[in-house]
């Protein structure tokens, strides 16, 4: 028996450029107690389709054809209901768990009030004690202590806790169907696993159907029974999860699966060229980059505990710095770029302290140490054409021999990263996609041929299908252009493939370091182990654990507090790490 049927649903958005057909002819059903994943990239119509079932499309979108039947109603087509009838169905029959965990709760209302108002809106006024009992049960159901959490305001909770509150709200009236819109996209992998397992547990307990919207095939594999693959508003493939993952029919599904890099899986990189590019060797053996006892504190918070390393640069390397948000990895990046002076210790480039150098040395340092940042949307000044970002440093560093030379260099760099110069140069940033912009930033680094490139989460804001391409571009910088790269990321799987050496950062400490095959392939430190076991993979036979296991792992992590040992897993030539 099905609880929700989409029957040939089409959704249109009238815009100034004409009508955009966001969803075309989608038909599928969600069975009672079944979990269905809607997967696709941004703009695929996955969220639009699901929201149509709640009649919550953003203006000016509307369902232009088809029917959506919620079978527990007397008169099942939700599109025919009055606004008031629809209001009563929301939460009581169909509930919604939103994407932005950080911002989904009313900031000026206590947590328990935000559960009560939903109950009162559907069941009428109730006495305080009854409401309290209901909200306590709902919060306990998602593993939160109602005595502590109930009277708090949202800003006093962590992201994972807020998302669990949203789950508690979503299930408090025992709906027939829960729609979860990328419920873990803003969370760390460890928290993601815990929240996802909690959601699965409560959903199973009340026997509701679940629509899980997402873009990560790995997460889907661990979370749902059936998968619907959407592309440009059309349902391209729909079937049981095992069939979709092990025997995908549509090329787009195959692409989605293969775009998830696996630890230990096949490399997505091109084989290294026969003659690798050479780096730079100084006469007296001064290392290219050296950190000496560097630490950083902000007020009373220590972002980075003292650490030292040397990178000689003779053979170009990719060093990965892996950690979750708050681990201090981005602090390291900005210290190495000289954006931020260290609280203690010094950062040396070619033997000179980068925070105490003359204007000329500083310009030389800037030329030789470049960066790619996380957000390709923010990296271009919206006022200028994209050429500005490429041409300005090229001329500023005295590399240009005139306007023609700059133009030629830009075009060559674009081609080197796989962009056709005529389609991107001369455009304004908002006219380009995120992927195109990020590749332009890589092209910019290439034009300047620095010695070191700091790549801070270069692919985390790019659609999955483009990630591999951009990482290939960055990898080429090492192989073909002799640039040493510090790759800062939260993603262990890509670090596994691209790097020569990996450091795992946890709360400002390096907890494990060494060649990726050891550190990520066979981790020894409990934190690294937890990180790796939390990564969702598109592998149905892998055990992702239960909510209880996820909670136990978090407790174990808390017990680690205060133990600062680094597990060193072997050395590579040209890079030495030492704690303190």
């Amino acid at each position: 028996m099905t609880i929700l049927d989409f029957k040939d649903v089409s959704i249109d958005f009238p815009t100034s450029k004409g009508v955009v057909h966001a969803v075309t002819g989608v038909s599928l059903s969600v069975g009672k107690g079944r979990r269905v994943g809607f997967i696709g990239e941004s703009g695929s119509g996955k969220t639009t389709t699901a929201l149509a079932a709640m009649r919550m499309l953003a203006a000016p979108g509307f369902v232009s054809a088809g029917a959506i039947h919620l079978n527990s109603l007397d008169q099942p087509n939700v599109l025919d209901l009055s606004d008031e009838a629809m209001r009563q169905i929301r939460l009581s029959k169909v509930s919604y768990i939103p994407q932005g965990a950080m911002n989904s709760l009313n900031p000026v209302m206590r947590i328990e009030h935000q559960i009560w108002d939903g109950i009162v809106a559907h069941e009428g006024p109730a006495d305080q004690a009854a409401l309290q009992t209901r909200s306590n049960a709902a919060l306990e159901g998602v593993g939160l202590d109602p005595q502590i959490v109930g009277p708090l305001y949202p800003h006093e909770l962590s992201g994972g806790m807020k998302q669990r509150v949203c789950i508690a709200i979503g299930v408090c009236l025992n709906p027939d169907l829960i729609i979860a819109d990328e419920p873990t996209s803003a969370l760390d992998v460890i928290t993601q696993r815990h929240v996802m397992q909690t959601l699965r547990d409560v959903q199973a307990k009340i026997g509701a159907g679940l629509i899980l919207i997402g873009h990560d095939m790995g997460l889907m594999a661990h979370s749902v029974d059936e998968i619907a693959v959407l592309k440009k508003g059309e349902l391209v493939e729909f079937g049981p999860v095992r069939q979709i993952i092990e025997n995908p029919q549509h090329p787009y599904t195959k692409e989605l699966i293969s775009s998830v890099p696996l630890v230990g899986g096949e490399s997505f990189l091109d084989p290294a060229p026969a003659v690798p590019a050479t780096g730079t060797v100084s006469e007296d053996g001064t290392p290219l980059l050296e950190l000496r006892g560097v630490s950083k504190t902000y007020g009373t918070v220590t972002a980075l505990h003292p650490m030292s390393f040397t990178l000689d640069g003779a053979v170009p390397k990719i060093i990965s710095i892996v950690g979750q948000s708050g681990s201090g990895k981005s602090t390291m990046g900005s210290l190495m770029l000289g954006f931020n002076p260290p609280s203690q210790g010094e950062v040396l480039f070619k033997g000179l302290d980068i925070n105490r150098q003359s204007a000329d040395d500083s310009l030389a340092f800037r030329k030789e140490v470049q960066a790619v940042f996380q957000d390709p949307y923010a990296c271009f000044n919206p006022f200028y054409r994209v050429n500005h970002a490429l041409k300005f440093p090229f001329e500023r560093f005295g590399l240009s021999r005139g306007a023609d030379h700059s133009q030629a260099a830009m075009e060559e760099a674009c081609r080197a990263v796989g962009l056709a110069p005529e389609t991107v140069l001369g455009r304004y940033p908002h006219q380009l996609s995120g992927g195109q912009r990020q590749r332009l930033i890589v092209a910019r680094a290439l034009m300047l041929s620095p010695k070191i490139l700091i790549a801070d989460e270069p692919v985390s804001m790019v659609d999955a299908s483009l990630r591999a391409t951009i990482l290939k571009n960055i990898h080429d910088l090492k192989d073909r252009h002799g640039i040493s790269i510090l790759y800062i990321t939260h993603d262990l799987a890509t670090a596994y493939h691209v790097s020569d050496y990996v450091m795992v950062l946890y709360k400002g400490h390096v907890v494990e370091a060494g060649p990726p095959a050891d550190v990520i392939g066979a981790p020894l430190h409990p934190y690294t182990q937890l990180l790796i076991s939390s990564i969702p993979w598109p592998d149905l036979d892998r055990d992702w654990g239960s909510a209880a296991a996820a909670r136990a792992a978090l407790d174990e992590l808390a017990a680690l507090e205060g133990r600062h040992e680094t597990i060193l897993r072997g050395e590579i030539a040209g890079f030495t790490l030492s704690q303190g």
Binding site: D12, T15, S16, S64, A65, R366, A371, N381, F383
Partner: protein, 318 residues
């Protein structure tokens, strides 16, 4: 063009839960593409330009010497309007005369641009101070930032009118320019706060970091990277300050504390109230300058709303 119309009017848009797209809606949607071409901005600018045109053309086609006492018969109504003594207004003084026979039209021609001049000058000086302090606070930070922040917090609560009243009471007559400079001392606070906040957020933005990586100097970052993106905000703040400055100037003039020898709209209203124009029903004397000021303020408001739409795309709605 035509195919878009056809597409938008296609039958599937006739579903029950949508308002069918009218041509007017399509036209409004097209405006999304160029925020600077919005009707508020255009109407606002047209109103302001018409006041400037009144000042310029009036000087050519009208005898501005009639701003002086005794230029015509006192208490004349506008064309076709009968005054208390039963005299009907004539084309000699199309907008009538005041109690001393000054020609109202001539007063408007001379006075209206004066009000705009004071507003623009005061706002321009205030903006310059604001840009300087805002960038200093945002860039230098630390103590400098604290001093500027607290300073603007304090000064924003002091009503400029009162300090100016004290000033004028102590010094007597002031010129238009001095008045503008005095007002400017009280309109730098909001641009300072605005620019400081924007600079602080832009400092962390990707493109400023990219510029730093490109070896850009502080001057380059401030003026080439940040300033162009501040333009809509600066315009908006400028216009808001012109309004505040004119309100303050008119307030001083209506209290009789403005420049004594130069005709201003506020001064005309002051004379009218003091001579009992309200009771004698000489409505053209105070009413027409009031209306002109109202046009000026509506124009400024429309320009400001239009600029809001430019700098904040979320406000652009159908």
């Amino acid at each position: 063009m035509t195919d878009q119309h056809a597409d938008a009017a296609a039958p599937e848009t006739a579903a029950p839960d949508t308002a069918g797209l009218t041509r007017a809606q399509i036209r409004r949607m097209k405006r999304f593409d160029n925020p600077w071409r919005n009707p508020k901005l255009i109407w606002g600018l047209a109103l302001l330009l018409s006041i400037i045109a009144l000042g310029l053309l009036g000087r050519i086609f009208w005898d501005t010497d009639m701003v002086f006492t005794g230029a015509g018969m006192p208490r004349q109504g506008p064309v076709g309007v009968e005054n208390l003594r039963g005299q009907v207004g004539t084309w000699t003084h199309p907008l009538g005369t005041d109690v001393t026979g000054k020609d109202i039209l001539a007063l408007l021609i001379v006075g209206a641009p004066n009000s705009l001049y004071v507003g623009m000058l005061a706002s321009l000086i205030g903006m310059s101070i604001g840009i300087f302090l805002g960038f200093s606070a945002g860039f230098i930070g630390g103590r400098t930032d604290d001093v500027i922040r607290v300073g603007s917090d304090v000064m924003i609560t002091i009503p400029p009118l009162l300090i100016l009243v004290v000033f004028q009471a102590a010094y007597g007559d002031i010129s238009l320019t001095i008045m503008a400079i005095l007002i400017a001392c009280f309109v730098w606070q909001s641009p300072t706060r605005l620019i400081r906040a924007q600079v602080l957020s832009m400092r962390e933005s990707g493109y400023v970091q990219m510029a730093r990586l490109s070896g850009a100097s502080t001057g380059h970052i401030m003026f080439r990277e940040m300033l162009p993106n501040l333009v809509p905000y600066l315009f908006g703040s400028f216009i808001a300050n012109v309004t505040t400055s004119i309100v303050t100037a008119v307030g001083l003039e209506v209290l009789g504390l403005g420049p004594q020898r130069v005709p201003t709209l506020g001064r005309v209203i002051y004379d009218a109230i003091n001579s009992g124009a309200l009771i004698q029903n000489l409505w053209w004397w105070w009413g027409i300058p009031t209306l002109l000021l109202a046009v000026m303020f509506v124009g400024l408001l429309l320009v400001n709303l239009g600029l809001d739409d430019v700098s904040n795309p979320r406000l652009r709605r159908l």
